[in-house]
């Protein structure tokens, strides 16, 4: 799954920085973000609220708020025209009209957090799914309706012929989010951005939606950017994980590297803070304090005030991305060769060991699973 050969870049963000003019000053929401999304893969962006993950997604879609200002960077998007020739464009600086005509909904689609506010209450769900096809491709109504039915079936809605005439308020929360996913898929986009699609939903429905996204990806080969604040959620869908903090990416790697070999203290914190069914500790690990106020200029490492392993240099200089493996990078001075050796907290180490042990148990049961995912890492 993680072979570097034959991977086609779909979207690459280079050194993006965005600030917002607010009444209380300039907020530097994104401070130099690099991301690459390859065809058919899922990239998860994980971070607390205010870390800039949604702003990144909005920048890709060109739907930043009016007071937002892109200071530097580029977002390169590669797509194929119907005729077959490959087009490479920079989404930043593209006129809004052109963006609407060629990109939004047609080639990059987005699913928002709250399914109630992203559906139009005055239109039937069928019309909403058809709208995009008719607008972008002038699909005849009959054909569009047929495709809408197929899409609803794809997202697991039964009794489609009847449902298609329903209004959003007649559906439950989980159903509505399925409809949103169906309408996002209507124009066969290359990239699907899911911005916390399950936060407003129940756990059981969350599991179903995640399985659905996974299944759709298998069938259509779409590339997905999955944004969440909960590392626990994305283990199912993510191939690659980028951890964001205060407008910067602090660690990125394959899902296995992030879950089993995290290097940044913030990732340690995120992983430890998540309750897990096997631990019997009395207290949950917490990351002390709260995220920095980006109204102020950040000098040094933004995470240093909350980091119990912080070094002196963290107050003065921002750490660069240290390379751990070809796919795994982390921005912390602890990885510098002059830094004192710091290991991850013991509780986290034992938890990871336990998770890996449980996996060996399952290996016996599911040999087929082994073939798919176990090639590159010895157990």
């Amino acid at each position: 799954m993680y072979t570097t050969k034959n991977r086609e870049k779909v979207l690459s963000i280079n050194d993006l920085s965005i600030s917002f003019d607010t009444s209380s000053g300039v907020v530097r929401a994104i401070r130099g973000v690099d991301l690459t999304l390859y065809k058919g893969e899922t990239l998860a962006i994980v971070g607390e609220s205010g870390s800039g993950k949604s702003v990144t997604a909005k920048a890709i879609m060109g739907i930043l708020d009016k007071n937002g200002c892109i200071n530097s960077g580029s977002i390169e998007f590669v797509y194929k025209r119907k005729s077959g020739d490959e087009i490479k464009t920079n989404l930043i600086g593209m006129p809004k009209k052109e963006m609407r005509r060629h990109i939004n909904g047609k080639r990059i689609a987005m699913i928002f957090q709250d399914p109630m506010t992203s559906l139009d209450p005055t239109m039937t769900i069928g019309d909403q799914i058809m709208e995009g096809m008719q607008w972008h491709y002038n699909t005849p109504a009959k054909e569009a309706r047929k495709r809408a039915c197929d899409l609803l079936r794809l997202v697991g809605i039964e009794d489609v012929e009847k449902r298609i005439k329903n209004y959003p308020h007649q559906l439950s929360g989980g159903m509505r989010q399925r409809v949103v996913i169906a309408s996002a898929l209507a124009c066969d986009p290359e990239v699907l951005i899911c911005d916390e699609p399950t936060t407003a939903l129940d756990v059981t429905i969350q599991a179903k939606i995640l399985e659905l996204i996974q299944d759709i990806q298998k069938r259509t080969g779409i590339s997905v950017i999955y944004i969440t604040h909960d590392l626990g959620v994305v283990a199912k869908v993510a191939d690659y994980v980028s951890v964001m903090y205060a407008g910067k990416i602090v660690e990125k790697g394959t899902a296995e590297e992030i879950y089993f070999d995290p290097r940044h203290p913030y990732t340690w914190g995120l992983l430890s803070a998540m309750p897990d069914l096997d631990t019997s500790d009395d207290r949950l690990y917490t990351i002390p304090g709260s995220p920095p106020n980006l109204l102020r200029k950040v000098t040094g490492d933004a995470f240093a005030p909350r980091n119990r392993y912080a070094l002196k240099i963290d107050d003065r200089l921002e750490p660069p991305m240290f390379k751990i493996s070809d796919t795994h990078y982390a921005a912390t001075w602890l990885l510098d060769e002059r830094a004192p050796k710091v290991e991850m907290p013991d509780e986290l180490r034992s938890r990871i060991a336990r998770i890996q042990a449980s996996r060996q148990f399952e290996k016996k049961e599911e040999l087929s699973d082994e073939k798919q995912s176990g090639e590159d890492t010895p157990a």
Binding site: E48, S49, G173, D202, V203, T204, I205, Q206, A207, K208, L210, E211, Q214, H229, D230, L231, G232, V233, A235, K236, A238, A255, E256, Y259, G269, L270, L271, A273, M274, P275, D276, L277, D282, R283, L284, Y285, T286, I287, P288, S290, I355, Q356, S358, R359, E362, E366, D369, Q372, S373, G374
Partner: protein, 317 residues
Amino acid sequence: MKNNQEKTPLLEVSHLKQYFHAGHGYTVRAVDGVSFRIFPGETYGLVGESGSGKSTIGRSIIRLYDPTEGKIIFRGTDISGRLDRNTNNMLRTEIQMIFQDPMASLNPRKRVEDIIAQGLDIHHLSKSKADRNRRVAEMLERVGLAPEHAERYPHQFSGGQRQRVGIARALIMQPKLIIADECISALDVSIQAQVVNLMKDLQEETGCAYLFIAHDLSMIKYISDRIGVLHLGHLVETGTTAEIFQNPIHPYTRSLLSAIPHPNPRTERTRVAEAYDYRAAGMDYNAGKEQLIDGTHTVLATDEELQRWISAPSLSL
């Protein structure tokens, strides 16, 4: 918290029904015959999907709704019928509530000091202005905020801090029971852990009991001594945390447990959560009765269903 059986319960809810008339002769049976007990100093967790009636139960207990049927007995006093002045005062001081959305539940036009002290003001519990200030400052420190914060307004705080204000407001009345209605759902994961730890510490200090309402089973496991699983207004399974997690019997409980995402990318990719569909399973909760499994572990089932569920293979978590 062991040996609860010998203690007298702090709160006893029996056969609580809460119906809402939705018009056109249509009645929503939000809570349909739920019974459980909470003992002093323990945490009882209520889980279930949205619409299962878990919040309704909390709101019925604190009398934001008038229960349709059933009895709620708090410290030996019936609080489900008409309330006289004394009972009402007791109910309003000794049971407190923490709400889900910390922004919506704090009055934006009041300073934090006045929000926290509002209960004291209403019940005339502070002797003097100095006493009031002292108690507010003490409370702020206890929940991990600085006394200087008393002068500020809710919008000047982050989500986690606001929820701390909500907790301070509940605790200043020195309640015996706190109803925490999804009080951590709106917070970030790292902040959730801070608030849960704080609530645990405060329970140790003050000995108050919690009715902890949530839809997230992994968090509830951390804080609860006993758990009740609600579905469609029925309490389908209840027992100690260990009993529920090690031996879930009811298919709905099993589906909830299997829906918890695991932080393991290798196994998680192929794992499929157990599905449960009440209608498709052809079940009728009204036909079932409470069946004792062992200890305090009970399941709502008919005899035939219970046999089938017990023989089902155990859930691999």
